[in-house]
């Protein structure tokens, strides 16, 4: 058996899996569009879509079309983008730190993004010039800066000669999370009424506050970086055996690090600014892919994006339907799935690492 025949089916198998995940996401998205406090029959939903493409089947009411196109669809697309972003950012950061316990929320990327988002919302009046320049991109880019600062800080605190010390990493994350939490409290303390209302909307926003404008920004600032991260799969594979080994095999380690840190912070920052902090997706999803289908980043990166999107869409569906007609914050659901998984992971980390 030659190598080519050995390698080729592997890539084929990976592609097949990605296609299956993608189809799964589409089907889930379609079901999710129809379900909720306001039920839309599948046939009606289908004809609404067909109507958009100029093919009139005519079996829906205008109210159904409005709910579907203006409320549910942007919400679900946003959930997919943010969930996928968290998944791929988690996979990239785990690969970069060479550690399976890293998660954007755990090491302070999310809280850094949240802090800067809150600062932007509360002291927004002082940043009028910023909003004037960047428009709708102002908030996500500001959150990105916060996330980036924390990522770089954590990386330097926890790394010694190219190796990240996991205890230092967790401690640095705890410290930064605490600091950001305190600073968020402080910002709220100084907030005026209008800013406080803004802030409340943001924290309660979840994916419920989705509009097409938000979705446009999110798809630009999440999909773009996600593609860039996916291109680094070879370098991430090489990094898995060590930074110096990757360098010996011709990887420009510093460049790859900068790309991955920047892009992960951009993805997570954007996600946080749109939906608030959603935990555990970035931790659980890459692991599921690795446990089920192996550690090759060619599959893990795009796979984590698709599975993250599936998971968050599912969580959003649950959040909308479990306590109908009220809504449960989506973070509760991801944490209820994620936290037990995390405990299991800590118990089995030795086995996974070998």
């Amino acid at each position: 058996m030659s190598t080519q025949t050995l390698v080729a089916p592997k890539t084929k198998k990976q592609n097949r899996l990605l296609i299956i995940l993608f189809l799964g996401l589409l089907i889930l998205g379609f079901c999710s569009i129809c379900l909720g406090a306001f039920q839309i029959p599948f046939s009606h939903a289908l004809s609404i879509f067909m109507h958009q493409f100029g093919w009139d089947l005519g079996t829906f009411t205008q109210q159904e079309a409005n709910v579907l196109l203006q409320i549910r669809l942007p919400r679900i697309v946003l959930a997919m983008l943010v969930g996928g972003g968290l998944g791929i950012a988690g996979a990239a950061l785990q690969g970069l730190f060479r550690n399976p316990l890293v998660e954007p929320g755990l090491i302070g990327v999310s809280s850094g993004g949240a802090l800067f988002a809150v600062i932007f919302l509360v002291f927004g009046s002082s940043f009028v010039w910023l909003e004037a320049i960047m428009g709708v991109f102002g908030l996500p880019l500001f959150a990105f800066m916060g996330g980036l600062i924390n990522t770089v800080l954590v990386y330097h605190l926890a790394s010694k000669s190219g190796k990240t010390d996991i205890s230092l990493l967790i401690l640095a994350g705890v410290a930064l999370n605490a600091l950001c939490g305190a600073l968020i409290g402080l910002a709220i303390f100084y907030a005026d009424d209008a800013a406080l209302r803004n802030f409340t909307f943001w924290t309660l926003g979840d994916v419920g506050g989705a509009t097409w404008a938000k979705v446009q920004v999110a798809s630009l600032l999440i999909l773009g970086p996600a593609v860039l991260v996916s291109w680094q799969f070879k370098s991430l594979n090489a990094l898995a055996i060590g930074e110096s080994e990757a360098f010996h095999m011709g990887v420009d380690v510093q460049k790859v690090k900068y790309i991955l840190l920047l892009m992960s912070a951009l993805i997570v920052g954007t996600g946080v600014s749109m939906t608030g902090t959603i935990g555990f997706v970035g931790l659980v999803v890459p692991h599921l892919i690795r446990l089920l289908y192996g550690a090759d980043h060619r599959l893990v990166l795009p796979g984590a994006f698709l599975l993250g999107a599936i998971l968050l869409t599912l969580a959003d569906l649950l959040a909308r339907t479990v306590v109908m007609p009220a809504e449960m914050p989506i973070g509760i659901i991801t944490a209820m799935i994620g936290a037990p998984f995390f405990i299991w992971l800590i118990m089995n980390v030795k086995k996974i690492r070998t």
């Binding site: 190598t3 080519q4 090489a238 898995a240 095999m249 011709g250 550690a295």
Partner: protein
């Protein structure tokens, strides 16, 4: 030629390497010997480009190291560090396949199979790297490194090995050094840090003796591996005698309570067995 000139390296003003000069010719095996803390690994890392060197210069084929991009460097030299750990569940085959990375798309389709068979790792290919034994892991890493330079190229290349056989059994150790001897013929210069004096004496074309950050001696096995020099380097009594059947060197040491005995006596008592 891989040349290092006037390498000087300090960590917190403590010199680790002092005025080290070394040249490595393609087609030869150079072995670095020396006690722990002699600066062997530091020199190794400076040669491989892993640690940037402030004082002194390293040249690959007459080109200064820092002018190489990582990718270009990977085309002229392959490196096997002392320890490599994996965080994620890769199979042995996936680990070896990483060695293809610097080759682009120009390798022959059965390259991996040939390298893995040569290093006795083909049968391990579907096992998870983390579940292999220490010696098997080392062989898989070696296969990955060899993949990088296995195919013949028109320019001289270099292979740097830091204790490549430290976890292997005796037959695997010899097997690795036989592969290295074969590779030399492909216009590849090999540098290895070894602790086994006998392996070094049997396979090396050039020996470099290091101690306290200094290169004490550099030369052929016959020139450098003498009882006096080795004793001075390792601070331990070392005896050398000739194997009667093959005429090759046998190097030995005994527990310290034997020191008062004469060399001749030790040698003859060993020959009996």
């Amino acid at each position: 030629m891989l040349e290092a000139q006037n390498i000087h390296f300090c960590i917190q003003n403590r010199p680790i390497l002092d005025q080290a000069n070394l040249s490595l010719r393609a087609g030869e095996l150079t072995v670095i010997l020396g006690p722990n803390g002699a600066g062997k690994s530091t020199l190794f890392k400076i040669l491989s480009g892993e640690i940037p060197c402030k004082y002194g210069s390293v040249k690959y084929n007459d080109r200064i190291l820092c002018q190489f991009k990582p990718r270009q460097l990977a085309e002229v030299r392959a490196v096997m560090p002392q320890h490599s750990s994996l965080t994620f569940p890769f199979t042995a085959h996936e680990v070896v396949a990483l060695g293809l990375m610097p080759l682009g798309h120009t390798y022959s389709p059965d390259l991996l199979e040939r390298v893995m068979k040569a290093t006795h790792t083909w049968d391990l290919r579907n096992q998870l790297y983390g579940q292999l034994s220490g010696g098997e892991k080392q062989r898989v890493q070696l296969a990955r490194v060899l993949t990088q330079i296995w195919e013949i190229k028109p320019y001289p290349r270099y292979l740097l090995l830091d204790e490549p056989t430290s976890s292997m059994d005796i037959s695997q150790q010899h097997h690795v050094l036989e592969i290295v001897s074969q590779l030399k013929k492909r216009n590849i210069g090999v540098l290895a840090i070894l602790h086994d004096l006998n392996l070094a004496s049997q396979y090396a074309d050039q020996i470099v003796l290091m101690k306290n950050g200094l290169i004490l001696r550099q030369g052929t096995v016959e020139e450098v591996m003498t009882e006096d020099l080795l004793e001075a380097v390792f601070d331990y009594p070392i005896r050398i005698w000739r194997d009667e059947r093959h005429g090759s060197m046998v190097i030995g040491s005994l527990p310290s309570f034997h020191h008062h005995q004469s060399t001749l006596k030790i040698a003859s008592s060993w020959k009996v067995h």
